[in-house]
């Protein structure tokens, strides 16, 4: 009925119909993609991070490393216990602190502190760290992750809110002098 160069009325309507659907789909795609990527876009410019108190300085004896827990700053009603996070607090002396993530810098397993030998040991793949967080042995490529912290009015607070991962957290930690 029609050759390649002519466009029938119905053919035109079909193409317009496809175009119309395409336009609606792209318009809908904006909020859909926005929703899917919301966990990324919200986190830009460190919006997830806040300062969280860990407790009074006097709870941490000088020269010792203690486990402390804090509540993650962003809480959703379905989070349950997962928002309670642990960290290792080392009071070097006076108001000089180091606050380490419990997550091993290798693959994130929880490291344990052994005061007798002054080592953090990871139960998963055998990573070990010295008391200042520096890598001692095993597969980790770096020392333990450190939370930025400050001491004010006898309270120690840390900047927390994101899971430390070996690739993702590198930039955050580089701001601080290396713990090694």
């Amino acid at each position: 009925m029609s050759n390649e160069n002519t466009l029938s009325r119905r053919g035109l309507f079909m193409k317009l119909g496809i175009l119309f659907n395409g336009l609606v789909a792209s318009a809908l795609a904006v909020p859909i993609v926005g929703f899917v990527l919301s966990s990324i876009t919200r986190g830009r410019s460190n919006a997830y991070l806040s300062w969280v108190p860990l407790g009074s300085v006097s709870e941490f004896p000088e020269g010792e490393t203690r486990l402390a827990t804090f509540r993650n700053p962003n809480v959703m009603p379905t989070d349950g216990k997962t928002v309670d996070t642990a960290c290792w607090v080392r009071r070097v002396e006076g108001e000089q602190f180091q606050v380490f993530a419990v997550n091993c810098a290798h693959l994130g397993c929880p490291v344990r502190w052994f005061p007798q030998s002054g080592l953090f040991m990871c139960p998963c793949h055998g990573g070990a760290y010295y008391r200042d967080g520096a890598r001692a042995s095993g597969p980790p490529e770096r020392g333990l992750f450190e939370y930025p912290h400050k001491v004010q009015n006898g309270l120690i607070t840390i900047q927390a809110g994101e899971l430390f991962t070996p690739g993702a957290s590198a930039s955050l930690v580089e701001k601080k002098p290396s713990c090694a």
């Binding site: 966990s39 009603p77 379905t78 997962t82 996070t85 693959l107 994130g108 030998s117 998963c124 793949h125």
Partner: protein, 499 residues
């Protein structure tokens, strides 16, 4: 009977499915494919259906909320009638499904079934394997316990290694900045909607192609696949030496499917459900997370790779392997099908099987992990303390208290991260022992800052006693010459009664 036939007719007038179904069921297959080697595909499908049914049943009780998932699993295990059995069926079904899918894949590979014209069937099969593994991982997350929680952390750590998009990928995977409620919810959506939907679609495609292209004929050495002639040869074969799939071949599929279901049920009854282990509370750090059985090889690999190899192996390895699988039918789409004339194919399968088997076996006792309680739990065996001096006994105490034992075994007890020290005095001289303890090295931390000189002296004195009765400890000959005396260790550290 007439009534049933009438009802059947009524439906078929409207559905018009009877003829195509009969045609599919009775399509001729080469006679020798009615073999016990050809039953794994249908067995995988059977277990997949079991997983759908048991999965739906579990969803009746399970709550995909980080706050309540663990308790709902406990309720399934202990409160809901037969809830434990449905959980066990689903868990064991998952293990069996991966095993059967892998066996199916090996059979298809060794029988050359991926060659022309079944390339796309193979590619879809590879995608089905990846989805099955995706189901296994996401299912492990839904069993929201300590292993699931820390396993997610490991997954996030691996994802973070991806160049440029690493940090973004982590947040996308976790649904936020930390492992929390949103993480479980999105793995629930993946495990229950997204991947099963894709699985159903791709299984349909896979089966459709098996029907359209015909089942792979039994490979004969010397019968080569040629794109120009294969299709005709295959039709010739099914005409000359073919038999209808139903009932000629299907009875073996039916028997094997029933046997596998019975095996899953038997394991479920005998071994029970998997976990859940401890509550997913991140403040409880006394845990050593371990993945499920089919990811144990990866856990072992991650421990054994040298640090410099880890990122490339994690990121490049899987991509190369999956690409290799996908491209396989294009690399060798023609030629010999029989495994008897494909030695490299057979060796590849054996190499991969031995590698995965060895890594899985190693992950069973994790020689690379320190034994966290060895220092307080495993006493120094008595025989090492016989006839020792006070200093040496003090050294044994230092050895325990400083957690040396967590990585070094004595008398087979203790960690295996470092070498066993039962005969260390034969390997290292006194100077070398002191140096090793203080400076560390060779994957051992330096203890210089954590040992006082007195402790080091005692520790080394103890270590110098660790040699077999008939063998004298290592000594530095040049030092003897320089000092012109019998080495001190000869007098002090050797138990009396030795040679």
């Amino acid at each position: 009977m007439r009534l049933i036939a009438q009802v059947g007719d009524w439906f078929d007038r409207r559905l018009q499915l009877a003829a195509p179904i009969r045609e599919a069921a009775e399509h001729p297959v080469p006679r020798n494919t009615a073999s016990w080697f050809y039953v794994f595909g249908s067995a995988a499908l059977t277990i997949f259906m079991l997983q759908i049914v048991t999965g739906i049943l579990l969803a009746l009780i399970y709550v995909p909320s980080a706050g309540e998932a663990w308790s709902s699993l406990q309720a399934l295990n202990h409160d809901v009638t037969l809830g434990w059995f449905i959980r066990a069926l689903h868990g064991w079904g998952s293990n069996f499904m991966i095993a059967i899918v892998l066996i199916h894949m090996v059979q298809v590979f060794l029988f050359g079934a991926y060659k022309f014209p079944r390339e796309l069937t193979w590619i879809v099969g590879v995608l089905l394997l990846l989805m099955t593994l995706g189901m296994a991982f996401s299912g492990q997350v839904l069993r929201f316990d300590q292993d699931a929680y820390w396993g997610l952390g490991i997954g996030a750590s691996i994802a973070s290694h991806v160049p440029i998009i690493g940090p973004v990928a982590v947040k996308l995977m976790l649904g936020g900045p930390i492992i929390a409620g949103a993480t479980l919810s999105r793995f629930f959506a993946l495990h229950v909607f997204v991947i099963p939907g894709m699985l159903i679609g791709f299984v349909g495609l896979h089966l459709l192609m098996v029907l359209k292209l015909g089942i792979n004929e039994w490979p004969m050495p010397g019968r080569l696949v040629n794109k120009a002639t294969y299709t005709n040869e295959y039709h010739e074969l099914t005409k000359k030496d073919g038999a209808p799939f139903v009932p000629y071949a299907i009875w073996k599929d039916l028997f094997f499917a029933a046997f596998i279901l019975l095996a899953v049920a038997a394991c479920a009854v005998y071994f029970g459900p998997f976990g859940p282990t401890g509550r997913p509370d991140p403040t409880i750090i006394q845990t050593a997370p371990k993945p499920d059985y089919f990811f144990l090889w990866l856990y072992a690999l991650l421990s054994l790779l040298p640090p410099s190899m880890e990122t490339p192996a994690l990121l490049v390895g899987p991509v190369v392997f999956i690409l290799g699988l996908l491209l396989l039918p294009f690399i060798s789409g023609e030629g010999e099908k029989s495994w008897r004339r494909r030695p490299i194919a057979v060796l590849t399968v054996m190499l991969i099987a031995v590698t995965l088997g060895t890594l899985t076996h190693l992950a069973g006792f994790t020689p690379w992990s320190p034994h966290m309680n060895a220092w307080s739990g495993d006493p120094v065996p008595e025989k090492f303390l016989h006839r020792t001096s006070a200093l040496q006994r003090q050294g044994a105490l230092v050895f325990q208290v400083k957690q040396c034992r967590n990585c070094h075994s004595l008398g087979e007890l203790g960690g295996q991260r470092g070498p066993a020290l039962d005969t260390v005095a034969v390997r290292l001289t006194q100077d070398q022992l002191i140096r090793q303890v203080i400076q560390g090295g060779g994957n051992m931390p330096a203890y210089g800052k954590n040992l006082s000189p007195a402790e080091t002296t005692a520790l080394v004195a103890f270590l110098e006693t660790l040699h077999p009765a008939g063998q004298s400890p290592a000594r530095d000959a040049s030092r003897d010459a320089a000092l012109g005396a019998v080495p001190a260790s000869r007098n002090s550290s050797q138990p009396p009664g030795g040679p």
